[in-house]
């Protein structure tokens, strides 16, 4: 039983990271119907910015995370303006290929500057030690990851449900022309969406980097997993991305713990395939038929 609970906590903490990244995928998809394959790499940039702040400039962890959020927001907006906006009326496949191109660009430009070898955040950057709760012992790191994710999700929900820009975002996602007729600037709203998504990716990157190691290709695997999580939960659905991320983290961790860790990726992608067959709209997604 203790082992099971322990694994649940491990699963939720890795799932939180997936959820944070999945939110970026799902929000961008919701607004411009693009799977932004460069999103995992924005997370990687966030991890490096955080690393530079913590390890090179001795900035405390939380301010470092905030700096990474700002840098990634700017990067996200630039990517959208330079790479995606000119293709606003192009076929979707064109934009998708562009996104993959941006992904490679970020990965290999980064590799050119920082080298291909991985680096580690200073020991205990995200907090060290363990908390004991009865027979359970929880890493302080995990407590931070889960708490930070919860805070981020509450803030995000608040922004989307209550603020003017958040409502504009929902309006543009649901009907671009009607939103324009309200006087909403579609371009600004799209930029805002990239700001939100990229700053969440930065948070995920900094935490992931502090728990494991960072390298220019570190965004690929979690990026794909987060994409699976977003599809699993229902692409375009914000609660879906949160749920999908946590569930994927749990499933992966439980598979590693009780079967074998070498199966965990296979299981993750098997889930994607099954979801796409059985319920293409995802758990919380709505079955919207494509307008012709």
């Amino acid at each position: 039983m203790e082992q099971f609970l322990q694994q649940m906590i491990n699963g939720i903490s890795i799932g939180s990271i997936y959820a944070l990244v999945a939110l970026g995928y799902t929000m961008v998809y919701g607004i411009i119907k693009l799977i932004n394959f460069a999103h995992g790499d924005v997370m990687m940039i966030g991890a490096y910015v955080g690393y530079a702040c913590v390890a090179l400039f001795n900035i405390p962890f939380i301010p470092s995370m905030l700096i990474a959020m700002v840098v990634c927001s700017i990067l996200g907006v630039i990517i959208e303006r330079v790479a995606y906006k000119p293709l606003r009326n192009a076929q979707r496949i064109t934009v998708l290929i562009t996104a993959i191109g941006v992904s490679f660009l970020l990965e290999y430009v980064m590799m050119y500057f920082v080298g291909a070898t991985s680096k580690t955040y200073p020991q205990g950057a995200l907090g060290a030690g363990k908390l004991s709760l009865g027979a359970l012992s929880i890493n302080v790191e995990q407590v931070y990851v889960i708490t930070t994710t919860i805070i981020m999700m509450i803030v995000l929900q608040y922004i989307i449900k209550r603020t003017k820009l958040g409502k504009a975002m929902r309006a543009v996602s649901s009907d671009q022309d009607a939103a324009q007729l309200m006087g909403i600037s579609v371009d600004r709203t799209i930029s805002f969406t990239f700001i939100l998504g990229s700053s969440l990716a930065a948070v995920a990157g900094v935490m992931l980097g502090a728990m494991y190691t960072i390298s220019p290709l570190m965004g690929v695997q979690p990026g794909l997993k987060a994409f699976v999580a977003a599809v699993f939960g229902g692409i375009g659905s914000i609660p879906g991305a949160m749920l999908g991320g946590i569930l994927l983290g749990l499933i992966e961790t439980l598979v590693s713990a009780y079967l074998s860790s070498s199966y965990k990726d296979a299981v993750a992608f098997a889930i994607l395939i099954i979801v796409l067959i059985v319920r293409p709209a995802g758990i919380l997604g709505k079955n919207v038929r494509e307008k012709v």
Partner: protein, 234 residues
Amino acid sequence: MFEINNLNVYYGVIHALRDVSLKINQGEIVTLIGSNGAGKTTTLRAISGITPSKSGEIKFMDENIEKAKTMQIVKSGISQVPEGRRIFPDMSVLENLQMGAYLRKDKEEIRQDLEQVYLRFPRLKDRRTQLAGTLSGGEQQMLAMGRALMAKPKLLLLDEPSMGLSPVLVQEIFQIIKDINKTGTTILLVEQNAHMALSIANRAYILETGEITMSGDASELAQSDAVRKAYLGG
């Protein structure tokens, strides 16, 4: 207060509007009648700056707006109730109305206008927390109109408000259009239901395959043989 001069709009190679000109005076209800595909919706989309025009001018309150962005056009006082209502189905009735006031800053005025909209459409008040997608067709039309009124427009563009509604509801909606006009809002009404539109409008324009073919007093047009044959069923 508003005029269009020789407006041309193309969709690719298709010439959708050919030298369309029309004029609306302060306080009028002007209707634009035509069959499916005549270019009525295109005209409204061009006015609101959603579909770009190739040539010609659109003037509102002595300013040229044919090159302006939709946001600036809405800000200058032109709101549109688009064809098919286009409400935001996943947002509440109240949120939909708030989106109508997106460009306005004065919270107190917005609150008063919200009360006005609720007075005009009491059913919207009862359903303010409900998701807009769950409303009936008539209620959605009212919501779309209420949403446009929240922008406090000087000129209200209505695209086929009668579409898909029962005759009783059509009567109700047209009565509301008259009431809105009485409180000082100028109206451009696009309709396929020529009979209803001509009955409330001051003047009318008839659009056929992208060209204005007739115009004049609504009551005179309603009597003319050509109009009766083509749009009023003989």
